[in-house]
């Protein structure tokens, strides 16, 4: 068990982060390279100012018309994305690892807050899954990959919570937690989770078109 732990916490973790960063860089680079090769015309319509305007407006909760049309989903989705990164960066167990690895640290979340957040995120994952099933317009465009990706995202939280509460064998849970997080990291650049990387490009492009050519808001 110890050996597996060392493998998952050591080389695999490094590999996962490396694949994540390299993969992400590749993803963005390749998208831009194809754009340069085939959509040269479009690049002429990218305006930094309007791209930023669009990105900012879509980053403010309840700022766009559609966000106000779907207040519950908007609240939940913003919470989910923020909580995801907050937990990743500020949870004390993660901090310990970072400190051991790099000798740096920053403020951490009190465990109880982290715990509540993690449970809430799990709740959101259930919400996303249920929404996929019961909303016809979502269900119609859902296939197994959507549930697969949701499972990938849920797994680190589920195993994290279980480990923290010492449900099941602690060591096993920690290993599963790290493993699932590593799989998620690796998956981001190569699946539709890459919206994390591409969203600002698609947003920025359409924001430019709307702002610069069409003189109208895109939100």
């Amino acid at each position: 068990m110890q050996d597996i732990y060392l493998l998952v916490a050591g080389p695999l973790a490094w590999a996962a982060w490396a694949i994540f960063f390299l993969g992400s860089a590749y993803k963005i680079w390749s998208t831009l390279a194809v754009a340069k090769q085939k959509d040269q015309v479009l690049l002429n319509y990218v305006s930094f100012r309007y791209a930023l305007r669009s990105i900012i407006n879509w980053s403010i909760p309840f700022n766009t018309t559609n966000m106000r049309l779907h207040p519950v989903f908007t609240g939940v989705a913003f919470f989910f994305h923020i909580a995801f990164f907050v937990l990743l960066i500020f949870i004390s167990a993660h901090q310990i690892m970072i400190e051991e690895g790099f000798g740096i640290g920053w403020v951490t979340l009190p465990d109880i807050v982290a715990d509540i957040l993690a449970f809430a995120v799990l709740g959101v994952c259930v919400f996303f899954a249920v929404r996929r099933v019961i909303r016809p317009e979502v269900n119609y465009v859902t296939d197994w990959t959507d549930y697969g990706l949701l499972a990938l995202v849920t797994a680190p939280f589920l195993t994290g919570v279980l480990a923290y509460h010492q449900v099941g064998d602690y060591m096993t849970m920690v290993i599963l937690h790290m493993l699932s997080a590593e799989i998620l990291l690796v998956a981001i650049p190569f699946t539709r989770l890459s919206h994390m990387l591409l969203a600002s490009l698609t947003r920025g492009y359409i924001g430019s078109e709307f702002g610069m050519v069409r003189h109208v808001n895109d939100w």
């Binding site: 002429n44 559609n66 979502v138 465009v141 296939d143 969203a199 947003r203």
Partner: protein, 438 residues
């Protein structure tokens, strides 16, 4: 889910008879693989299948939220399947795909404003149309219009002499009211080239009359071309025939260049504006149109604000204003348009949602041009617009776009609304000061 009824169309059916699986595969891969690039790739890879774009679409809203009419639902029925199967789709599939892309999407781009990632579904529907064009399964009626474009360089098979006759006739007419008025043909060095769409000389000559009255009474230095190039409309843009779109726009811009005008002013049409201002110039390699292009709404606003256009009396009856997507979501003219409407009308009652969030009339994007076979489906697909119109309680709707007129007329008829449609120019013509009138 209810079984879908697919409509029979001669153009689609006859074209489909000649299709082979190899040809479909080759064409799809050529368009999606070669012509499309990073944009399509990013859209497909970013879409979270979240369905948040659904409520943006009037077809979805009007069809009791049937998910097959949601924007992303249309992508699923077309692009996703083509990509998944790497182009190995059946003839039957292609017949349905062209129907989805060509008759159930107005390319109105409302959904773009509702997708968190700004995914341009209208662009993807255009790609499907492009594939259908290359496979020769475009619906019959719109293809006929595209043929007219390529044979005559106008939309309505108007012959060169018929065009000039129509203008002379309107000039004769107008001189009874405004004796000094002219419709200057081919005047080199004029400031403005005024261009219209094919149907104007054919069925709506009174619009040329009214525009001429406005031009003359506000003292504009203007001209209309006597040669092909006068028509700014463009159904080729909507059938995915980019090559033909390029020829049309080149002729239009060349004509403006030949006449050495400073700008092109266009009549009240939405799609033509999109073609000249946004799409056609790109096909020809101009980032922005080589000659400034001014839509009628902006032109009226300019005239009003420079003091050339003066209000003689107000239009008293309450009116509502339909925002044509192509000049609102396509050019942000909604505020200027309202300023002009308010200047000429006492009571403007808004529809909601409006301005850049308007619902399309369901005629645009070439859908009305697909003709009678698709008329019922189109009108049923826009119940929501009828409800919007009804809620205003007014009896006059200003719609500054030809296609919108067609689409709204059908809706008014089908949903038994007691509303009269007007172009803004009509109201201006009625209510403006005409210093030279007898």
């Amino acid at each position: 889910m209810k079984e879908r009824v697919w409509i029979q169309d001669e153009g689609i059916d006859r074209g489909a008879e000649k299709l082979t699986p190899e040809r479909i595969e080759k064409t799809i891969n050529a368009v999606l693989g070669n012509e499309a690039g990073a944009r399509l790739k990013a859209y497909v890879e970013t879409c979270a299948h979240c369905g948040l774009c659904a409520e943006a679409c009037h077809f979805y809203m009007s069809r009791d939220k049937d998910p097959r009419f949601s924007p992303v639902g249309k992508v699923k029925q077309t692009i996703w399947e083509m990509l998944d199967k790497k182009g190995k789709v059946s003839v039957e599939f292609m017949k349905q795909a062209v129907q989805v892309a060509q008759t159930e999407c107005n390319l109105c781009r409302r959904c773009v404003q509702y997708c968190p990632f700004g995914i341009d579904i209208a662009y993807m529907m255009s790609l499907v149309r492009r594939i259908a064009h290359k496979l020769e399964i475009t619906p019959l009626y719109i293809q006929d219009t595209a043929h007219s474009h390529s044979a005559t360089m106008n939309q309505m098979w108007v012959k060169d002499d018929e065009w000039i006759d129509a203008l002379h006739w309107q000039e004769d007419e107008i001189r009874e009211e405004l004796p000094a008025a002219r419709i200057p043909l081919d005047k080199e060095g004029a400031e403005i080239m005024y261009s219209v769409i094919g149907p104007e000389p054919k069925f709506r000559t009174q619009l040329i009359y009214q525009a001429a009255a406005i031009m003359n009474e506000t003292g504009c230095d203007w001209t209309m071309p006597a040669t092909p190039g006068w028509d700014n409309s463009d159904m080729a843009m909507y059938t995915g025939d980019s090559e033909m779109m390029g020829r049309l726009k080149r002729m239009h811009f060349d004509t403006a260049a030949r006449l050495r005008v400073k700008k092109i002013v266009m009549g009240e049409c939405g799609h033509a504006f999109r073609s000249v201002y946004d799409t056609g110039n790109r096909v020809l390699g101009w980032r922005m149109p080589p000659v400034p292009v001014i839509h009628a709404l902006e032109f009226y606003w300019d005239l009003l604000n420079s003091g050339k256009l003066k209000v003689a009396k107000k239009f008293e009856e309450p009116v509502t204003f339909h925002d044509p997507c192509n000049v609102v979501r396509g050019r942000g003219l909604h505020e200027k348009a309202r300023e002009v409407v308010r200047a000429f009308c006492t009571n403007l009652v808004e529809m909601y949602p409006n301005k850049e969030h308007n619902y399309c009339c369901a005629a645009g994007g070439g859908v009305i041009n697909c003709g009678p076979p698709f008329k019922n489906a189109r009108v049923e697909g826009n119940r929501i617009k009828a409800e919007q119109l009804r809620a205003t309680g007014v009896k006059v709707c200003i719609a500054p776009c030809h296609n919108c007129h067609g689409g709204l007329e059908d809706i008014i008829h089908k949903y038994k609304l007691d509303i009269e449609l007007k172009f803004l120019g009509e109201i201006i013509y009625d209510c403006m000061e005409k210093p030279n009138a007898v």
